[in-house]
């Protein structure tokens, strides 16, 4: 148990190191002169050759790949992401501000999505194969096919343009978060509904349930004690994995609704070729997902000792 957890941590560290190297290599070998792009982003059109050279030196672009990688990875271990090459400001505080917008949105979306998914799944499994089941599955299939950006635009069209009930652009008041969270949540709900539905059906099909029912245990107690826990295990892990979907969704949603956050931060940074900022977002994301996967793997092993014997 201990050694397999140690193994997992080691594996996570390797994955992190790999991601850091891949990101850095990608940035380093990206076409075009990064110094020129940075200079353009910083000084607009007043760019001369001297300015470009100055930027090159300042951004540490004039040394080789490995020295540059070492110079970057060293401070990174202490969460020092360096300074933005465009604004010159420290990256970390700006990144944290972005995170403080994205995380609440993501959690609101997740909460809404899980609630809708549970509701739909319960309705669907009341009578499997009945019309309500088909409608719920149909809605879920449709939801999985709708891209977040289109759904967001449709919601804006309906609630902000036609009905004028809710604000659409920006993030000034909590009301501004309703439509983005709705967009994100419906996407989550679509993918979760089918999984929750099938794990409820599977849990109900456990061979010992008829025996318990015949002994006279009321069905509400059976649902609580035998069906729900069995169905919960895969669902909990999947909610964890939904995080990847949430972040992707958040990137799109923030751009559609003009909200500040990690997505906007990333896209702006990419467009300005602000390498330290891009690196920071990538490393943070990798750290986040490696940690989530690690926690899920460990939970798996705690819940079910059968897992972990072989290399999955």
């Amino acid at each position: 148990m201990i050694s397999s957890v140690f193994d997992l941590v080691l594996r996570a560290l390797i994955v992190l190191a790999g991601t850091a190297l891949a990101t850095f290599a990608l940035l380093w070998h990206a076409p075009g002169d990064p110094a020129l792009s940075i200079a353009l982003a910083r000084f607009d059109t007043l760019v001369t050759d001297e300015v470009i050279e100055m930027v090159r030196e300042e951004a540490g672009l004039n040394i080789g790949f490995w020295p540059a990688f070492r110079a970057w990875i060293g401070p990174l271990l202490w969460f020092d992401f360096g300074n933005s090459s465009v604004t010159g400001r420290e990256v970390l505080p700006d990144l944290l501000v972005a995170v403080s917008y994205t995380f609440p949105l993501a959690f609101a979306g997740l909460a809404f999505g899980v609630a809708v998914a549970l509701l739909l799944a319960f309705v669907a499994t009341k009578r499997p194969g009945g019309w309500m089941d088909r409608v719920a599955v149909g809605v879920a299939s449709l939801g999985a096919a709708i891209p977040a950006y289109w759904l967001g635009l449709l919601l804006i069209l309906l609630f902000a343009v036609h009905l004028a009930w809710l604000p659409a652009m920006g993030a000034r008041t909590p009301a501004h978060a309703i439509l983005p969270a709705l967009t994100l949540g419906l996407g989550v709900a679509a993918s979760l509904t089918r999984i929750i539905r099938s794990s409820i059906l599977e849990a109900r099909a456990q061979p010992f349930l008829p025996a318990i029912r015949r002994r006279g245990v009321p069905s509400s107690a059976i649902g609580r004690d035998h069906v729900a826990p069995h169905a919960a295990v895969p669902v909990i892990t999947l909610v964890g994995l939904e995080m990847a979907f949430l972040l992707e969704g958040a990137v799109m949603v923030e751009i559609i609704f003009g909200r500040p956050g990690l997505g906007t931060f990333l896209v702006t940074a990419i467009e300005a070729r602000d390498f330290p900022q891009v690196q920071a977002v990538v490393v943070l994301t990798a750290l986040l997902f490696v940690t989530i996967n690690l926690v899920i793997d460990v939970i798996y092993r705690v819940i079910d000792p059968r897992i972990g014997g072989q290399d999955a």
Partner: protein, 264 residues
């Protein structure tokens, strides 16, 4: 399997013959008729430059569906080769491949694709590269898993003893068993590629204007949401219908395979 063939045939037909049915040139600018509502002349209306939306959608299928097909097939080949290499290549190869796969899987694909496509500079080639780099892992995992389970089968051991080359073993004993599962994975990745292409197009990192890719069209249409909301509906609808059709075909195939499995 038949549902997937029908699907592939349908996609092929739309991609090859769709533009034939387009009433206008997709890039023909006609400012006097800009932002016109659907009519007898322009069935779905025109966009901000007066281009016929129906024609653009039909031509756009080449980009949105054709590129997605291409990307998902490249991913299929790359992923299968990598997965089989892991399963057949010994412990070290397996370790390296699995840690690489973990690294790529540790990241939300779309975010990775945005970073890669954005940094390589917007354009079709970087789009293909970005979505391929982020789209091979599922194939590799499935191919490796099945490959590992086949390695101890009697007929594979016999082939090894007979001195059959690894290529011939992969060709005759591994690939046939991989086809059904990989086809299911492929339908999912095809749908993902369509969503990825249009998402990157919508962000401005994908296919560049004036090419009529569906996501790029949506990006244009967004500016005129208040005046002509319908213009925004069509490209999104095209994406949704395509993805829905592909997912349904994939589900049908998966159910059919599961049934076959339990029959035995």
């Amino acid at each position: 399997m038949r549902s997937v063939l029908v699907l592939a045939g349908g996609v092929g037909l739309i991609v090859v013959f769709g533009p034939v049915f387009a009433p206008y040139e997709p890039t023909m600018i006609n400012i006097p008729n800009r932002l016109s509502p659907p009519s007898g002349d322009y069935w779905l209306g025109t966009d901000a430059l007066g281009r016929d939306i129906l024609s653009r959608l039909l031509h756009g299928a080449r980009w949105s569906l054709g590129l997605a097909l291409l990307i998902s097939l490249i991913g299929l080949c790359v992923g299968t080769v990598i997965g089989l290499a892991a399963a057949l290549g010994g412990r070290l190869a397996d370790w390296i491949v699995m840690r690489t796969t973990d690294t790529f899987l540790a990241f939300p694909d779309l975010v990775a694709a945005v970073v890669i496509a954005g940094l390589l500079g917007a354009g079709t080639w970087s789009l293909i590269f970005a979505l391929t780099v982020t789209g091979w892992m599922r194939y590799a995992r499935v191919a490796r898993g099945i490959g590992l389970s086949l390695r101890t089968r009697g007929y594979v051991i016999q082939a090894r003893l007979a001195g059959v080359s690894p290529w011939a073993i992969a060709r005759w004993h591994y690939l046939p068993s991989l086809v059904p599962s990989l086809t299911v994975v492929w339908t999912g990745m095809f749908a993902r590629a369509i969503l990825g292409i249009s998402a990157l197009g919508f962000l401005g990192f994908g296919v560049q204007p004036p090419m009529p890719e569906w996501g790029t069209m949506l990006l244009d249409a967004r500016l005129h949401m208040r005046s002509t909301p319908l213009q925004m509906i069509w490209p999104g609808l095209a994406v949704v219908i395509s993805v829905l059709a592909i997912n349904l075909a994939g589900d049908t195939l998966r159910d059919a395979l599961a049934e076959k499995h339990t029959d035995r």
